[in-house]
């Protein structure tokens, strides 16, 4: 159906900026109008980019958690975190088999990120013990590179669309 969702979003955003914002004079309402204008651009960019990013992110996280699962038991980390990783990966082992929107993808990525957070905490707890190990240094480097990639992707909708005045 045309206009597509991105085209409708753009139309709403343009109309709001062009006709509504200039008419809002009460200071608090005007401040909120500025914020809404920014968030409309945020949603427009998020609709365009987030689904693709989350799909890639899930793949990356599965790979990263797989590597963590190799390192942690071998390095003598507690078994609970390995079990939590295995559980998160098991849930990902069966693909949904149908299209998922970005809300559903976000729900899928959350347990994987929770497992990654648990990995990071475990690595941190063992830092003094493992700091000189090449596989430890490499795993931490890979995690940081992954996090950097995440923030870079998110900047498309959390940084680029925003401009002054914010409020």
């Amino acid at each position: 159906m045309r206009p597509r969702v991105d085209e409708v979003m753009h139309s709403i955003s343009w109309t709001f900026e062009e006709y509504i914002v200039p008419e809002v004079k009460e200071p608090f309402a005007q401040s909120l109008a500025y914020t809404i204008g920014n968030l409309l651009r945020h949603v427009e960019a998020r609709v365009e980019h987030e689904g693709r990013f989350l799909t890639e992110d899930i793949e990356d996280l599965v790979g990263l958690l797989g590597s963590s699962l190799e390192f942690l038991p071998e390095a003598g980390a507690n078994q609970e975190v390995s079990a939590a990783i295995a559980e998160a990966l098991e849930a990902e082992a069966t693909p949904p088999g149908h299209y998922q929107n970005s809300v559903e993808l976000s729900a899928r990525v959350e347990p994987l990120r929770a497992a990654l957070a648990a990995v990071i905490r475990t690595l941190e707890e063992g830092h003094a013990k493992w700091a000189e190990r090449a596989d430890y240094i490499e795993l931490r480097r890979r995690i940081r590179t992954h996090l950097d990639k995440q923030l870079t992707a998110e900047s498309l909708w959390t940084a680029a669309p925003f401009r002054e005045p914010r409020r």
Binding site: P27, F28, Q30, S31, L32, T35, I36, N38, L39, H42, E110, R113, A114, L116, A117, I120, R121, L123, E124, H127, A131, I137, R140, R141, I143, R144, L147, D148, Q150, L151, E154, S155, W157, T158, A159, F162, R166, R167
Partner: protein
């Protein structure tokens, strides 16, 4: 701001008759409320200015009051409103210029829109410093004078005998100056754990790095104002007449405050004429005896980023749980929290590429 509604008998700020009667009773004066204005800029809590026109023999004329209350879903900053009021009460026992706290209201019959609030005397003045942001060199002298005025007042804050003023009963006390940075990180992480509702791997990565690299050379444990500088203090005729916005105050290293100083230091990218960062730090040291190193300020900027993530995550939770749907919270929990995480990860990655710091 939630999807539900309030009971019809809840006291509201636009109910002039009931507000007048309430204020007259609390102030013990005859008179009426003549104006109620919402401060448009606040993000973390609501601020309202209420003018009460007194008509008593002992006092006549306008009394301007400031009312502070949480947003409908609570404050962006998870510290309770009562703590902010207690800080103002403690400030009243010091030489720091600050608004006088009058009372805290938590009686069920008097809640405003169902919310607790507190009242302080409004201090006449302006948060803006006209000309400060104008890069024309003719404003350099103004910038230096403003910076000095602010540093003088920050020195007053940092030299407060916080124990005698009661701050030790309101704020967490670090074990020692050496433990101050680590205590600040642990305090923020503990607050984050209480409210956390989704995984934050970037923050997990940063927390470990911050703990391992926390400086231990704080000169003293001081009262820390929190956000300070442009927009956070009240000026009148070039002088600070009230230091405002204490909700992020704590006890710790005075460098923490330098990391939160807005626009009044040369390093903010705006020239202050011949007044350099080194001059500012030397001037401050001459007032307090405290040496503030630039690396410590840089480290505390990262602690501030961690703190931003913590309280903006709190606002994200309010939106996700539909406890507060004010659109401003969506902005802070998207753009602003992303920026804070970016700052944290940049520091960790920069350290990874350097052999100078513990990775």
């Amino acid at each position: 701001m939630t999807e539900g509604g309030l009971s019809s008998d809840a006291l509201q700020l636009d109910d002039v008759n009931r507000i007048s009667s309430y204020m007259a009773k609390k102030l013990d004066l005859a008179g009426a409320v003549t104006s109620v204005v919402k401060f448009p800029r606040g993000v973390s809590r609501e601020t309202w200015f209420v003018t009460f026109e007194a008509e008593s023999p002992e006092r006549a004329g306008p009394i301007v009051l400031t009312i502070r209350r949480d947003l409908e879903g609570g404050s962006v900053c998870p510290a309770p409103l009562r703590r902010e009021y207690d800080i103002y009460r403690c400030l009243g026992k010091t030489d720091v210029p600050a608004a006088e706290a009058l009372w805290y209201e938590d009686h069920p019959e008097h809640l405003l829109g169902g919310r607790e609030f507190y009242v302080r005397l409004h201090v006449e003045g302006d948060w803006e410093v006209p000309g400060l942001m104008d890069l024309d060199p003719r404003f350099d002298a103004l910038r230096e004078a403003t910076s000095r005025e602010h540093l003088r007042n920050m020195a007053l804050v940092h030299l407060v005998d916080w124990n005698a003023a009661g701050f030790g009963e309101v704020l967490e006390v670090p074990d020692s100056p050496a433990a101050a940075a680590r205590a600040a990180i642990d305090r923020i992480v503990a607050q984050l754990r209480e409210i956390q509702f989704e995984p934050l791997p970037v923050v997990e990565e940063a927390i470990g790095w911050l703990r391992r690299n926390a400086p231990t050379d704080a000169p003293a444990v001081c009262l820390i104002k929190g956000t300070n500088g442009l927009g956070e203090e009240v000026f009148r005729n070039g002088k600070i007449v009230a230091m405002s916005d204490w909700e992020l105050s704590s006890l710790g290293d005075p460098a923490y405050d330098f990391a939160q100083m807005q626009a009044f230091l040369p390093q903010d990218g705006r020239p202050l004429g011949a007044w350099s960062m080194d001059d500012a730090l030397a001037y401050y040291a001459s007032l307090t005896g405290f040496e503030i190193s630039k690396p410590r300020i840089a480290f505390y900027r990262l602690i501030c980023a961690l703190e931003r993530v913590m309280y903006l995550h709190h606002s994200a939770r309010a939106v996700a749980r539909r406890e507060d749907l004010l659109v401003r919270l969506c902005w802070t929990s998207t753009e602003v929290i992303w920026g804070a995480q970016r700052e944290l990860l940049n520091a960790v990655m920069a350290a990874q590429d350097s052999s100078k710091v513990r990775q």
